[in-house]
Symmetry: C2
Subunit: 235 residues, 2 copies
């Protein structure tokens, strides 16, 4: 299953469920819901009770039509002539994204990046809890980062079982990443966020999303070059 990008492939099975189940929400929509959620949370904190698709779209950096189409996939939660109730939308999007449940996360690899991730506030909020930090280097084991003790890689399997970890974050060097990933998967982890610069091999039912700095830079380089050529050609 993805980088944004990240790529996640999901089985295109039409969900054989009882009753008149709503059509599955598209991948493109799912990728934007967290953005809407963040913007809406900001509105809620600012005491704003209702927003129009125009306002919300503006703040989220998308077109109003796209926004309405996205939201229509979760249900009819707006009021014509008025807009959307901020709190209610926050709740509905949270529910659809599965954020009403709690997920335990293990971070593997405590280098510079692992450090930064461990301290990242985004984990604490909204349903994600860092169950453990893990590293292969005995020199790092025992160190405390962001209130968590670093534990040795050997304990990975135990930690995953004890804390019912469902999401693994790989922040190791590329050379160790596939091995770590295999171990996560063999313990039943089906969601992986990969920061190592390589393509992970996983079974179909496992979702991988990758964050890859050098890919992002290279995409920017392409557009820089294109802009330079256009500017030159326009002379």
């Amino acid at each position: 299953m993805s980088v944004a990008m990240s790529g996640g492939e999901s089985s295109p099975r039409p969900l054989p469920r009882t009753g008149a189940r709503r059509a599955a929400i598209s991948e493109a929509t799912v990728a934007r819901l967290p953005v809407y959620l963040r913007v809406l949370t900001g509105f809620a904190d600012g005491g704003i009770a209702t927003v129009s698709s125009e306002q919300l779209a503006q703040a989220a950096g998308v077109g109003p039509a796209k926004l309405r189409k996205d939201l229509s996939h979760l249900g009819s939660y707006g009021t014509r002539g008025v807009g959307y109730d901020v709190d209610y939308l926050v709740y509905q999007i949270s529910r659809v994204l599965g954020l009403t449940q709690h997920y335990s996360v293990v971070i593997v690899g405590v280098g510079n990046l692992g450090h930064a991730l461990a301290g990242y506030a985004g984990f604490g909020t909204r349903g994600f809890r860092v169950a453990a930090l893990v590293d292969a280097d005995p020199a790092r084991v025992g160190e405390t980062i962001a209130g968590l003790e670093v534990r040795h890689s050997d304990e990975l399997e135990t930690i995953i079982k004890d804390h019912e970890v469902s999401i693994g974050v790989i922040a190791t060097p590329a050379s160790a990443a596939q091995d770590v990933c295999d171990r996560l998967v063999s313990c039943g982890v089906t969601s992986v966020l990969n920061f190592a610069p390589l393509v992970l091999n996983v079974p179909d039912q496992v979702d991988v999303r990758k964050v890859d700095l050098s890919i992002e830079l290279q995409i920017l380089a392409f557009h820089e070059q294109r802009k330079a050529l256009v500017a030159q050609g326009a002379s």
Copy 2:
């Protein structure tokens, strides 16, 4: 323009250039070329001289047809019945991505994440050079990280001009990010890589790509939930 993901919007202008210029390469293809490049570099290091679309696609985690279609957009660089020459492909993809040129990068914000980015090896290689690290906190100014001295935000404009910075990396808290972005843009920076959790407002000609940990986690949460529901429903 835009996160994987990241999103980059480009003006769909058909490149008004002289001669029979090849059709513009699609955004989806551009996002995959860096992956192919990395895999090919690995092959080259391993002494492999030629690859088939089947092999390369396998290693890059895509289908062979997609790979061939992608490569066909850069030109006819394969040999029927044989495959692709690894070194030649590396060169062609590098050229298309603009990696034969050099880009100066400024990293703004030297917290945990900025630290990690400064130390990231991906910058050094392949045409990217970190011109400077910048932070607003006077306590951090003067500190040396990965061989670079941290300079104060006030010098941002000077640094950009002196080093002809073309790519800005924003690793500040969300509250400072739009301001930093505005200053980068006003100095002529047209490519921004944003790690701050907010939607940046930029003029049309500026490309922004975002890397957002909590969005990635929320997308994974959605799929975790979906998998749990399917498993439950299949009983």
